[in-house]
């Protein structure tokens, strides 16, 4: 999907946005490729919405430039940008029918009537809303409104499609269904897409690449699996999914296997691969709960195991999350899948051993 030869469809160059003393976006650089679905993921107030609004033209950057298809559009008003947005609230015009909403943007381009009609018909077909063409937005359900909003933002064939919290207004069940459907529609049109979301599941389901934003800065950019499996900071590791982080001291560095000591563990911690730190440095060693194995018997391996007592169990149907308290008081999470119905499972107060292979852990520096 990534085309390295051509220039990026959307480029953000050293963009800073300040509101008075406050900087919502700090020196951000981004390059989004043609045909890519890119997600800006972060908590509330991280600056992701401000960044999206600068792409749409509702805000102008205090410093830096926004480039669309190689052209600097930093000071171009929204109505002259080849960009369309699907709003979080959908922002459908309540006084217009579904059809009129979709044709709204096309009419501004002064296209011939027949051409507008064909395009509206095509768009409504794309989102399966043809039979609702004559309805007003308040006669539609949440999911239907979203389809109309999507059709409206795609109707003008924008170079970049912006989605602001696309699933924010839907209930959970509809959300997972629409996520895949929206991706299908976007990919069938082939439009470059930037979405903003606070929901990591949504970002990971829909996007080709995800960037984690925090406090106005981009922490990490990568594919969903890169970000999940190889987080580059404590913040990213904790933001995406759940994670156990052990505060550790670097003992021995080698390109194959590095060793760490941790006060929570009786044995040494080992992590596959080299470490970008000197011996004696303080780092974090992160292990995802699903990569931790549990057993009543002591494991064979000499490294990477701990003993604890089951403190809490969250039974979630498909899998269970065990909260295991170590002697040091630290609580470690481990998940198991519930494959057998009649299995004799671990229960409260049971003494268990937790262990994991050296390839499962990641070293975090900050």
């Amino acid at each position: 999907m990534t085309d390295t030869v051509s220039s990026p469809m959307l480029e953000i160059r050293h963009v800073t946005k300040s509101f008075g003393q406050l900087s919502a976006v700090k020196d951000v650089n981004l390059a989004i490729n043609k045909g890519e679905i890119f997600a800006l993921l972060g908590g509330s107030g991280c600056g992701k919405t401000t960044l999206l609004r600068m792409m749409a033209g509702f805000e102008t950057p205090t410093e830096g430039a926004v480039l669309i298809d190689g052209q600097d559009v930093s000071n171009v008003p929204p109505y002259k940008r080849p960009v369309n947005m699907m709003f979080q609230s959908y922002a459908l015009f309540p006084h217009l029918t579904v059809e009129q909403n979709v044709s709204f943007g096309l009419k501004q381009d002064k296209l011939p009537k027949a051409e507008i009609e064909t395009q509206v018909h095509k768009m409504l077909g794309l989102v399966h809303m043809t039979e609702f063409a004559k309805r007003k937005p308040n006669q539609l359900s949440g999911g239907q409104r979203q389809r109309v909003a999507l059709a409206r933002s795609l109707a003008k064939k924008p170079k970049v499609l912006l989605l602001d919290e696309p699933m924010g207004a839907l209930d959970k069940k509809l959300r997972s269904q629409m996520q895949l459907e929206v991706v299908d529609i976007i990919e069938s049109v082939g439009v470059t897409c930037v979405m903003v979301t606070h929901d990591q599941e949504e970002a990971m389901t829909m996007a080709d690449r995800v960037s984690i934003m925090h406090d106005g800065e981009i922490m990490q950019i990568g594919s969903p699996s890169e970000i999940y499996e190889f987080p580059n900071s404590r913040h990213t590791a904790e933001f995406i999914g759940s994670v156990n982080i052990f505060d550790a001291t670097v003992q021995h560095v080698s390109p194959e296997l590095s060793q760490f000591s941790c006060p929570d563990l009786a044995c040494t911690l080992s992590v596959e691969g080299g470490v970008n730190a000197v011996e004696g440095a303080q780092v974090g060693v992160a292990v995802r709960p699903e990569k931790i194995l549990m057993s009543r018997e002591q494991p064979q391996q000499s490294n990477n195991w701990i003993k604890g007592k089951v403190q809490d169990i969250a039974y979630l149907g498909g899998h269970s999350v065990y909260h295991v308290e170590l002697d040091s008081g630290k609580v470690v999470m481990a998940t198991t899948t519930n494959m057998n119905r009649h299995e004799q499972r671990l229960t409260w107060k049971d003494e268990v051993y937790l262990y994991w292979p050296a390839s499962s852990a990641v070293v975090l520096y900050q």
Binding site: A56, P77, K80, N84, M85, A91, F104, Q108, D109, N138
Partner: protein, 292 residues
């Protein structure tokens, strides 16, 4: 028990309307069918009982008189015309004011709203009377203009129709501004952004999104200005002089100068019927709004 409670709550407005609107209306309606006489009260009874004979005297002459004498028709026409153009002026002035207030930030918004309503804290009569001092031949405007030498002779402004328009627009402007403001302030900003996003320049967004969505406020504001303007008495009396013919003034003259209560009542009834047209239109519109 609960039903009684619900009923008594609903009964209050009904009782109010019955005592202060329906009963007086029926009295006026009754008087319009009687004949004038020099007595107390100055009209004849509809129903008399004498020598074991019950007589009902229904005098339709007053209504016939209203139709035959063109003074009344001219007064009605001129009232509706003045009220209509005054409403249009108030809309043209009031809409931008309401728009500016609704777009202002919250702190200034309240201050601006206050400024719109503040003049109403003084007596209506005094505010209209103040315009006499401003508009008369040796008033504020004429003296000012002559003082700086722009004009040699005073411009006749008082006792013209212009002064009546000015008075109505001035007095009823808040009733135009407030409903439009209430409507515009609720307008979702993301709709305006969506319009811009889809290629509309600001003025086009105003015409295609803001204006259609504020229709309910415009209709309400226009009704609130038009309806009282038709029957307005104080403004044409003080600012309009003898030239301006309005039904409110005719009504006053019939009641107090001619002491012809039946004709005055008939004038009032016909005015009410005239106003029923825009009021029904307004209600229809409201009902349609609620439906969609």
């Amino acid at each position: 028990m609960k039903k009684f409670g619900v009923r008594s709550v609903i009964a209050v407005p009904y009782l109010w309307l019955l005592v202060f609107f329906l009963v007086p209306f029926l009295i006026v309606f009754k008087i319009s069918f009687s004949e004038m006489q020099y007595a107390i009260p100055p009209y004849t009874d509809l129903v008399t009982w004498a020598d074991e004979v019950l007589t009902i005297n229904l005098n339709l002459g007053t209504y016939a008189y209203l139709i035959n004498d063109d003074l009344y028709i001219r007064a009605y026409m001129s009232s509706v015309r003045i009220a209509f153009f005054a409403t249009v002026c108030a809309l043209l002035i009031g809409y931008p004011i309401a728009y500016a207030i609704a777009r202002a930030d919250t702190a200034t918004r309240n201050a601006l709203l206050m400024l719109v309503m503040l003049p109403s804290w003084t007596s209506f009569l005094i505010r209209i009377y103040a315009w006499v001092g401003i508009l008369k031949n040796n008033g504020l405007i004429n003296n000012g203009l002559m003082g700086i030498g722009i004009i040699d002779e005073p411009i006749a402004m008082l006792n013209t129709e212009f002064a009546v328009y000015l008075g109505i627009v001035y007095a009823y402007l808040p009733f135009m501004v407030l409903p439009i403001y209430t409507n515009l302030v609720k307008l979702d900003n993301s709709l305006l952004e969506a319009s811009a996003d889809l290629g509309c320049a600001p003025w086009k967004t105003f015409l295609t999104v803001t204006l259609p969505l504020s229709k309910a406020g415009i209709v309400a504001g226009c009704m609130l200005v038009f309806i009282p303007s038709v029957g307005e008495f104080v403004i044409p009396e003080m600012l309009g002089g003898a030239e301006t013919l309005m039904i409110g003034k005719v009504l006053w003259q019939e009641f107090f100068n001619n002491r012809d209560w039946p004709v005055a009542s008939a004038v009032a009834i016909v005015m009410l019927l005239l106003l029923l047209v825009p009021i029904t239109f307004f209600h229809r519109y409201k009902a349609r709004e609620l439906e969609s």
